[in-house]
């Protein structure tokens, strides 16, 4: 079970969180004309990288904030965690 450092609450066990997928996905702006392909990529297509992955976790049984976690998908190493509005770098 992972040990995730919520930037608001501190180190908490994985079972307090819900996984939220790739954090680099950006929703197309409202009212913007976009192609079918662009929209499908946003809705359906996700990379499944081996290695570093910036992903969303929702601290559902805690502060209810969505946070970003930079994690290695093969070793589960967590390099850093960020608040939703924080710049990743």
């Amino acid at each position: 079970m992972l040990y995730i450092k919520c930037p608001h609450c501190g180190l908490r066990s994985q079972n307090e969180f819900a996984y939220g997928g790739d954090a680099s996905v950006k929703r197309p702006e409202l009212n913007k004309e976009i192609s079918d392909q662009e929209w499908d990529e946003f809705v359906y297509l996700r990379k499944s990288p081996r290695g570093k992955h910036l992903e969303l976790w929702h601290h559902v049984s805690g502060c209810r904030q969505w946070i970003k976690v930079l994690r290695d998908t093969s070793t589960h190493e967590i390099f850093n965690t960020y608040k939703s509005e924080e710049k990743v770098g």
Partner: protein, 998 residues
């Protein structure tokens, strides 16, 4: 009864307390502190089971977790448990156990015929034999395998025992209480660290309990006892015996199984049988010790062939002799301790040492005691079927290839030692690499991956002096890094015998013309010849060889067999062992009971049960409840002999005729607040929200980004910047997460906050033509006329001194209202409604009547919004705004969503107006059509229409829009029903919606 193999004065069992037990129906006696194994051996019982494949007789091989043979079916306190190792099961008064894997009895076993027909059971036997013909599988092969295989039977009864889970955090978790575990725990604890020390066995001390050493002029056991006593007295230390750390998971989370009452005749009330600990440790010390490995020789699975260390343990801990005419067969010094122990107890062993000579301290001692030692000698084969009666021995050449003349000597046990294998399971599970250590012919942990260190013999260190020194140092160093304290302990003075080098010899060659089976894996009957065959057949990777031959795949996971298997593969392949590599170590280290894994989350404890504030009233008034997610809701209120059908029909009819009240507390409620709340709702819902006035409610539908309907409900504008959103009971939590996602990540610029208020409000839906009259009596000061409170209106009101909210919304198609009060006042509200409602023939109604009312109205709910439908499919397309953008809108342009014959919500009535249509039935054109019969749609919900007094269903039907009036068939293969039906409008009652506005 006599315990013929019990020694008088030696051992740690409690001779004051005799215990009786039964094995295979026969009564025996043992002592408190015995294991089932030691008690049986004390009584001279060596035949405990049959092997997996050949059904060869099985005795005892070890004295602990590594035991491959002695697996029994245990009976305790009216329960039975399979797969119990007799070497670990502690004896208690009244214990009963039976042999497994033998039929009809352990002494006469039909399956043993496999042993003589073993031509049928070579490596890969299962793959080769049970392949064809396919039709044989269910009738012949599977029943055969099921009957012949397996170690006991699972109970079919509900397990009455209690199992618990516990979460714990510590600075240092120490796995194993041998010398390295004790030393590191002591050093760390004295330096202020929070320590958990876990010992798998009942007794602390590990090898110190049986080794002939002195520490600070005390025996190993005395020193261990003193350390444990001191640790137990410290507040920063938790010491647990009968507790095995069986798995090492991510981020230093380890799981420990504590056997709390397995050693007692029964568990006390409220005491768990087992407890699973999830431990998050800052640092982990793996002090799991090492397991002796055997030397492979002919018939080495005969009962009476035991590990030398186990024979010593049976003597020194239990005061039990594994035999009275022992042969000790070794390639190293450690087995001499066993020989010396026999001698001290007036038994004369013969030692066969594969080495040419050795003159270490311990061998000198053995010689001075007069022990018969034959160097360059090996056991060629054990003789005897159900117990060793003698053995063939021979002198072996220096290159270990040739045997001299074979001699037979009488013996009743063969104590074998092929040196020691570090227990590296935990270190390997943590993700760390392993490396092969030439000096000990075994793998040890290499660089650790997580925050762990392996110490003592688990790390291939076999001298006590070095073990204690490194462990004291590590315990201090690790604790210092956490506590910043600086209290180091003096390392004790150790006296131990120096050992000489072991012999890299592990397998006795077959004498010419002999075909003895030489077993590597004792539980799965994998012999040297099986591995040779697998390699001849082209298997190379050790992982493939393992699966093909089943080497190391039994419940003991090859604790005694893996390394010899690797040796063999490397010999045949002419590779060195590290190049062959080892198979993956996976948790659990030993089998863990399903009960412990599940813990207390069984039955009603598997999820929380939520009850509305009116629950007690429902209970008192004969409500029959139904699970709605985690909520308990009244399904119907039983009167007299009514069943579900009669009661729900009565309740629904009363709503249509008079007035009914339904507990709707479970609906999800979310407060949406902030200056941008309207804009936010406008993006979340498919319809327009910017112009909703204060005091008005609106029905809304929200989509996922892929265009599928996510949820629906009404949302009311309470004040300028405050909205009260309702969701379905089932989707309440998901909708809140969904809203938070968009507010926090996608549109953080919107000034809006959301919070769940589901628990804050109790709700009652009042529905029926008389509902306004009732409402007026409940709220005499409030204008609830059609003008004062029009359809979709909202007003705050006073219910006999209690603040209430009235929403004029309807789920039943009747004139209806929903009244909310703060939860604490829920029961007060409910009782007022019931009391005043009497004048209006009010009846409470449950979820079944609620469903009936919504189905015949054509209102969609969860069974239509099933994660596969878009707004068009469910007749909600009128709510989709063409002007503004919202979540999921772009997806609605998809070609498949705009096909002309797209599925659509319809009503379905059976032609005979009598037969109810099972939910889930498929709609087809031709009931006798060729399979697969094309499915045109499915029945999503069914009810008995109280308005028309006949069955009515909703369905999602292909091209539903143009199908009204057509005749189809509803088929339910599950219920074996085919019903001729007519497709009608989904609005079966009041299609113009006049009643709700009346």
């Amino acid at each position: 009864m006599l315990q013929n193999y019990r020694l008088d004065k030696i051992g740690l069992v409690n001779r004051e307390k005799q215990l009786s037990f039964k094995f295979n129906g026969k009564k025996y006696f043992g002592y408190e502190g015995d294991t089932l194994a030691s008690a049986l051996i004390a009584n001279g019982v060596h035949l405990v089971g049959r092997s997996f494949k050949y059904h060869r007789p099985r005795g005892f091989f070890g004295a602990g977790v590594d035991e491959p043979y002695a697996i029994v079916q245990l009976y305790r306190n009216g329960e039975t448990e399979p797969n119990v190792r007799a070497t670990e099961q502690e004896l208690f008064e009244g214990l009963e156990a039976k042999s497994v894997n033998c039929w009809p009895s352990v002494n006469f076993d039909i399956g043993a015929i496999n042993n003589f027909l073993n031509i049928f059971l070579p490596a890969g036997f299962y793959y080769k034999t049970f392949m064809w013909p396919r039709s044989f599988w269910y009738r012949i092969y599977e029943p055969f395998i099921r009957k012949a295989a397996g170690f006991g039977v699972a109970s079919k009864e509900h397990d009455k025992e209690r199992y618990e889970h516990k979460y714990e955090y510590c600075d240092l978790l120490i796995a194993g209480s041998g010398p390295s575990g004790l030393a590191s725990a002591y050093a760390a604890a004295k330096n202020g660290a929070r320590v958990i020390l876990a010992e798998d066995k009942p007794r602390f001390g590990g090898s110190l309990l049986t080794s002939d050493v002195s520490i600070n002029n005390q025996s190993g056991k005395e020193w261990a006892d003193n350390i444990i006593t001191e640790l137990k007295g410290m507040t920063n230390v938790t010491v647990k015996n009968r507790a095995q750390i069986f798995g090492y998971y991510d981020h230093n989370m380890l799981v420990m199984s504590e056997r709390v009452t397995d050693h007692l005749p029964k568990s006390e009330e409220f005491t768990p049988k087992q407890r699973l600990w999830y431990i998050r440790a800052k640092q982990v010390v793996i002090s799991s010790g090492s397991i002796e490995r055997p030397i492979v020789f002919g018939n080495n699975d005969t009962p009476g062939v035991v590990l030398a260390s186990a024979a010593k343990e049976y003597m020194k801990i239990y005061g039990v002799l594994v035999g009275k005419k022992p042969v000790v067969f070794t390639n190293n010094d450690s087995a001499y301790e066993t020989a010396i122990e026999f001698k001290k107890n007036k038994i004369n062993p013969i030692v066969l040492d594969s080495r040419q000579d050795s003159n270490s301290e311990i061998i000198k001692e053995a010689k001075s005691l007069g022990i018969d030692i034959k160097f360059s000698h090996v056991v060629v084969a054990a003789k005897g079927y159900k117990k060793v009666k003698s053995c063939d021995i021979a002198e072996i050449s220096e290159d270990k290839q040739n045997l001299n003349q074979i001699k037979n000597i009488e013996c009743d046990c063969i104590c074998v030692s092929g040196f020691w294998t570090p227990t590296i399971h935990l270190a390997s599970q943590s993700g760390g690499k392993t490396k092969f250590k030439e000096e000990i012919d075994a793998f040890v942990p290499d660089k650790s991956k997580q925050k762990e260190v392996t110490l003592g013999s688990a790390n291939g260190v076999f001298t006590l002096e070095e073990t204690l020194k490194t462990s004291f140092d590590k315990g201090f160093e690790l604790s210092k890094s956490i506590t910043n304290n600086n209290n180091s302990q003096q390392i004790p003075k150790v006296s131990e015998k120096k050992h000489s080098k072991h012999d890299k010899f592990w397998c006795v060659p077959l004498p010419k013309g002999k075909k003895y089976k030489r077993f590597l894996d004792f539980q799965n009957d994998v012999a040297v010849s099986d591995i040779e065959l697998a390699i001849r057949e082209g298997y190379r990777s050790i992982e493939h060889v393992k699966r093909y031959t089943t080497l190391g795949m039994a419940t003991d996971q090859g604790k005694t067999s893996n390394l010899n298997g690797l040796q063999l593969v490397s010999n045949i392949e002419n590779k060195v062992v590290p190049a062959v590599g080892h198979t993956t170590f996976r948790p659990p280290y030993t089998p863990i009971s399903i009960g412990a894994i599940v813990g207390r989350e069984i039955g009603k404890h598997s999820k929380p049960t939520r009850k509305s504030p009116m629950h007690n009233w429902h209970e008192k008034n004969n409500a029959v409840f139904v699970d709605a997610g985690v909520w308990l809701r009244p399904r119907y209120y039983k009167r007299g002999n009514e069943g579900l059908f009669e009661a729900s029909k009565r309740e629904a009819e009363n709503v249509r005729k008079n007035v009914g009240v339904c507990d709707v507390t479970t609906l999800g409620k979310i407060d949406v607040k902030g200056p941008d709340a309207a804009e936010f709702l406008n993006r979340v819902y498919t319809n327009a929200w910017l112009k909703l006035p204060v005091g008005k409610a609106r029905y809304g539908v929200m989509l996922r980004e892929d265009g599928i309907v996510m949820d629906d409900g009404t949302t009311t504008r309470i004040s300028e910047n405050h909205y009260h959103m309702t969701t379905t009971t089932a989707q309440a939590a998901n909708v809140l997460s969904h809203l938070e996602y968009y507010l926090q990540l996608v549109w953080p610029e919107l000034d809006v906050n959301v919070v769940s208020t589901t628990e804050q409000w109790a709700g009652a839906a009042i529905a029926g033509p008389k509902s306004r009259d009732l409402l007026q009596k409940l709220f005499p000061d409030t204008d609830v006329s059609n003008e004062g409170l029009p359809f979709m209106g909202f007003v705050e009101a006073n219910l006999f001194g209690v603040n209430a909210r009235i929403f004029r919304i309807s789920f039943s198609g009747e004139l209806a209202y929903e009244v909310n009060v703060e939860s604490d006042n829920g029961n007060f509200m409910w009782e007022k409604i019931i009391e005043i409602g009497k004048d209006f023939d009010l009846q409470p109604y449950g979820t079944e009547a609620l469903s009936t009312l919504r189905i015949e109205m054509g209102h969609v709910a969860g069974s239509e919004l099933d994660g596969r439908t878009i707004p068009y499919d469910t007749g909600l397309d009128g709510l989709v705004s063409k002007k503004k953008d919202f979540i999921g809108k772009r997806s609605l342009l998809k070609k498949a969503y705009n096909e002309k014959d797209r599925q659509r919500l319809v009503g379905v009535v059976p032609l005979d107006k009598k037969t109810s249509i099972p939910e889930g039935s498929h709609l087809v054109k031709d009931p006798k059509g060729k399979l697969p019969n094309p499915k045109l749609g499915h029945i999503s919900a069914s009810c008995w229409s109280v308005e028309h007094n006949n069955p009515f269903s909703l369905a999602i039907l292909k091209d539903g829009k143009n199908m009204i009036g057509s005749k189809l068939y509803a088929m339910s293969p599950l219920k074996n029903k085919t019903i001729a039906v007519e497709i009608v409008s989904s609005h079966y009652v009041d299609p113009k919606g006049e009643r709700v506005r009346s």
